[in-house]
Homo-oligomer: 224 residues x 2
């Protein structure tokens, strides 16, 4: 990735880029790294400041983890989006540990947290942008929380499968029950039981490592 | 409450107060209302912009609500604190519905959301303050979420009771099982069962409408 590509990426993604002095732009550029993460890599584990992760290709998954190793997926990030919660230097108000994994091979640019924090002290627009980006995710997390706490499992699974097929533009979902359980913050047994129920109802067809939705109308009906 | 008291309250609670022009201060003052809420009043219900609620005496409880009426308490606010999530005009990024009740007779000052939002457009410090105040609560909410999702009920109840006795500076907790269940986002039956277990273990003594902690050491041990 050359310098011009990097500058164009920053210009597209940071609305305050034009407000920066040439010197600040240089600091910003020199504190940034272009990194390719292999599928399944743990990128951030809650204990230190990894920086702001800008996604060019691939996808990242943010989750929280219990002492016993139970995961709850908070949300996923896609190309053009950025992970702000991994920049604890920038966001002093965030005191919880969040984990970030690459779900696919992901091409990213990581902006150093300390450099950004120093910039945010001088440039209100940079500070506001960081806070707003983080706060927007608050709503996503509340949505997940409400799904988990309030919704019955059939409804939750139906929403998950519907989202998957519209996202993938395919009726087949190539995820194991274990993976689905992880994404939903549930147990594999619960997902398997519910999928068997959906299958017995003729809503899905199950095969090794895959789920095919055969009655979209009834699946959608369950999501309401 | 007279004008000088109001100005002194704003000066103490809004770090940007001194940055405002006299005219902006006037707008701020005239958009504010001094309101006393009776115990148990629903102050905000997620659908409109109530404004920023500054608490002088009493306490407020923030919670989310399922379609079936199940509540999850997110956090409580005490004198000197303020509720920012009730000001949807100020925080466009917050898209979830939050409910606010007064838990005691509460004396509050409510700052109009639109007036604050207009000010935040002109004054970066006011914008940053609103975002930071809201974002700090993100961590509180994540804490609740982890408690509910990851922790076993005995630990959660022990933490709740410990917090109550240190907050009230008394070994007696005057809450019904129903109220405790509401605060914990659990069911009354679950709370009653666990309290009976604690009682049989000699940790608490149960009486009508009250719980007395008689073995603090063992209660604390359960919280770890």
């Amino acid at each position: 990735m050359d310098r011009n590509e990097l500058i164009s990426l920053f210009n597209d993604n940071f609305p305050f880029w034009d407000h920066l002095t040439e010197r600040d732009k240089e600091t910003f550029i020199s504190s940034s790294q272009h990194i390719s993460f292999e599928k399944g890599t743990n990128i951030h584990n809650g204990n230190y400041c990894t920086g702001i992760i800008l996604i060019r290709t691939g996808s990242l998954r943010l989750y929280i983890l219990s002492d016993e190793g139970k995961e709850i997926t908070l949300y996923r990030l896609f190309p053009g989006e950025m992970c702000m919660l991994s920049a604890s230097c920038v966001l002093n108000n965030i005191t919880f540990d969040v984990f970030v994994d690459s779900e696919e091979n992901s091409d990213c640019v990581v902006v150093g947290g300390c450099a950004y924090a120093a910039l945010a002290e001088k440039c209100n627009e940079a500070k506001i942008f960081a806070l707003e980006t983080a706060l927007t995710r608050f709503s996503d997390v509340m949505w997940v929380m409400q799904q988990i706490l309030f919704m019955s499992m059939d409804k939750r699974l139906a929403i998950f499968l519907s989202d998957e097929i519209s996202k993938n533009k395919s009726d087949t979902i190539n995820l194991t029950h274990e993976q689905i359980a992880k994404y939903m913050g549930s147990a594999r047994e619960v997902v398997t039981r519910m999928l068997k129920y959906f299958s017995s109802e003729g809503i899905v067809e199950l095969s090794r490592g895959g789920i095919k939705v055969i009655d979209k109308k009834r699946l959608r009906a369950l999501t309401i």
